[in-house]
């Protein structure tokens, strides 16, 4: 009895130890960035292990908002990311539903096709995307980058939505159709609210794809007025020297919306909203 209790305690301690180690490994780079952003000089490396360095200053943060077009980048990134999120969620919600509920010619091929697109690395798609956008006259425009981001995020989002709809009993929709809904009303009044965990994941994925993407943006957005945050951040890096303080401060600020979104939406990420609707 006692030995099994001891075993449990030891196991618990070990589990926590492993968790603590991994947390430290995960958090260490972030702490380094905090330190760099607070250093009075633009130094990347230091022998000091202090998180808050000596003579810590918020100079980099102030400079970011006063000397740099940081707010413009934030605006551009927000505009593009939110549009991509809304487009991604709306399109994935509907097409995922179609793939989940209807039988049509090309359904299997379509689903497989979406999956195949995920197998190519983004860099491989750069050239064809660039050429297509030139033909469409969308290079150096918000629309061009929004279409590109939406197109790259959609396959994953559609699969996520389809997978979630598959778990929602079809009888709920049938009940709604008998209760007076047409197919579309049954979808948005009954099924869509139940799919909110998947919608949140889809939304977050779309947002993050657009918010932190650099390579595609660097090709499409050449006008500095259209730059997004990752492009702006990269501009702190010059041939001869890099403004590490600004870089660190900007990186932390860029991180904030994503972290905030995760915290705000975490309760929606908890699945199981369908509990109680059907037997069991």
């Amino acid at each position: 009895m006692t030995s099994s209790k001891n075993k449990k305690i030891i196991l618990r301690i070990l589990t926590h130890l492993v968790l603590v180690i991994f947390t430290l490994i995960a958090i260490y780079p972030v702490l380094q960035v905090v330190t760099i952003s607070l250093r009075p000089s633009d130094k990347l490396l230091s022998t000091s292990l202090e998180i808050i360095p000596q003579n810590a200053t918020l100079k980099s943060y102030v400079s970011l908002f006063t000397d740099q077009p940081f707010l413009l980048w934030v605006r551009n990134s927000a505009l593009i990311s939110l549009t991509v999120t809304l487009t991604g969620v709306a399109l994935a919600a509907m097409s995922g539903y179609a793939f989940s509920r209807f039988n049509f010619i090309g359904k299997k091929v379509g689903l497989l096709g979406l999956l195949v697109t995920q197998m190519f690395p983004a860099t491989m798609l750069l050239l064809p995307l660039y050429l297509m956008l030139i033909y469409l006259g969308l290079i150096n425009s918000y629309l061009g980058i929004i279409i590109t981001y939406s197109a790259t995020a959609l396959p994953f989002c559609i699969w996520t939505m389809k997978g979630y709809y598959d778990t929602i009993p079809i009888s709920l929709e049938e009940a709604a159709r008998i209760d007076g809904c047409n197919q579309f009303q049954a979808f948005y009044k009954v099924i869509l609210p139940l799919a909110s965990p998947a919608l949140v994941i889809t939304g977050l994925f779309s947002f993050m794809t657009a918010w932190s993407e650099y390579i595609v943006a660097a090709q499409i957005l050449q006008d500095t007025q259209l730059w997004t945050l990752p492009l702006g951040l990269k501009s702190f890096e010059a041939n001869m020297s890099t403004e590490w303080g600004l870089y660190g401060a900007a990186s932390l600020i860029v991180m904030i919306p994503v972290v905030a979104l995760f915290i705000i939406l975490s309760k929606w990420l908890v699945s199981g909203l369908t509990l109680g609707s059907v037997k069991g």
Binding site: A175, A176, I178, D179, C181, P193, G276
Partner: protein
């Protein structure tokens, strides 16, 4: 009014026919039960009436209007699903009110109807709760409530009690029957449980392999099954079947193909069987028509070997074989009798309750 008529209705999935030429006439205010084993097409038939499945061929009428192309919402029907299908993100009140809201009823009317239904079903205290906070029985009541608030022409039930435990099932069975008497609306009820079918339906439709086998009142189906399938499906434990021949010696008698027993045919029905003397037939007798003591002048003794006894409270099921044959049969006798397993025992077959079926087609003779 809420009559339903099915005329030559088929449902095909590619070359697979799951509902085969179903013709049914369900009267207004009638309680009709579709019963049959899994995969017999009963649920598909119900879903076609609801408009949830397309009809491959044939016509369905509700109140003399063809509804083949009418969407479910415009058929004026309500359906209770096997898995309740309550909207989990809505409270019980919202679940009940949803159908009325969709039909643009006034707030007062909705409130009145929901209150009325919740009183009838005893769910008044739970209106603010979400479905996940309800027990299985309560959820099923809410599902019933969602159907009755709309006051539709026809209620459709798709195995609504199969997820409930035995006690609750009996209770809900009575409640649905009571509800039918109270609201006097046509009800079509699908189940695979023949006890539910027998106890609830004004008429029963027995289906097998997509084909309607028999449509009649429960007692007629029990007493006069039209074929071996219906005879075997209705009644629990199931009817015993013996293969054999009708032989004419001193009198007409059934002789089992195992030769271990024979039973005389009643003189009143001898004429009926004269044309098929010497033919192979199946004899059917229900477990309740085999007794441990002679019940009347029609009782014929048969010596059997007791294989298993199964006490179920007020009676015992005896599983037995006859002679050296391996086939097992069953009968039910009062629990005060104590036949010994593995021993010979005398049972009495009531020959006035025998059923005969064509050995090849299974049709009643």
């Amino acid at each position: 009014m809420g009559s339903v008529r099915l005329e030559h209705v088929f449902k095909k999935y590619d070359s697979n026919i799951v509902v085969n030429d179903v013709n049914l006439n369900i009267n207004d205010k009638e309680f009709v039960v579709l019963v049959g084993p899994s995969g017999c097409g009963k649920s598909t038939t119900l879903r076609m009436i609801a408009g949830l499945e397309d009809i491959s061929q044939g016509t369905i009428f509700i109140d003399d209007s063809a509804v083949n192309d009418v969407p479910p919402k415009d058929r004026d029907i309500a359906m209770v699903f096997q898995n309740y299908a309550l909207y989990p993100h809505m409270s019980v009140y919202e679940n009940l009110a949803f159908g009325l809201k969709m039909r643009k009823y006034s707030k007062d009317e909705i409130q009145e109807r929901v209150q009325q239904a919740s009183v009838i079903l005893g769910i008044k205290e739970m209106l603010e709760r979400k479905p996940k906070a309800l027990s299985g029985g309560q959820r099923q009541r809410v599902a019933l409530g969602r159907a009755i608030v709309r006051k539709p022409k026809v209620f459709l039930f798709d195995e609504p009690l199969s997820n409930l435990d035995a006690n609750l099932r009996v209770q809900m069975r009575t409640e649905i029957s009571r509800l039918h008497k109270q609201i006097e609306t046509t009800m079509i009820y699908v189940t695979h449980d023949q006890i539910e079918a027998m106890s609830m339906g004004d008429r029963i439709v027995v289906m097998h392999k997509g084909i309607v086998q028999q449509v009649d009142t429960p007692l007629t189906i029990y007493n006069n099954p039209v074929n071996k399938f219906v005879a075997g499906f209705i009644g629990s434990p199931t009817m015993n079947f013996f293969d054999g021949k009708l032989l004419l010696q001193d009198s007409l008698a059934f002789e089992a193909s195992t030769k271990y027993f024979s039973l005389p045919i009643r003189s009143e029905i001898v004429q009926r069987f004269m044309p098929i003397v010497n033919s192979e037939v199946s004899l059917g007798i229900r477990p309740e028509h085999i007794s441990a003591k002679p019940q009347n002048s029609h009782s014929q003794i048969v010596n059997v070997n007791v294989v298993v006894t199964e006490p179920v409270g007020n009676e015992i099921f005896i599983y037995f074989t006859i002679g050296q044959a391996v086939e097992q049969y069953v009968c039910r006798i009062p629990s005060d009798m104590q036949p010994q397993t593995g021993r010979a025992f005398d049972l009495y077959f009531d020959v006035s309750k025998l059923h005969f079926f064509d050995k090849t087609t299974g049709a009643a003779l």
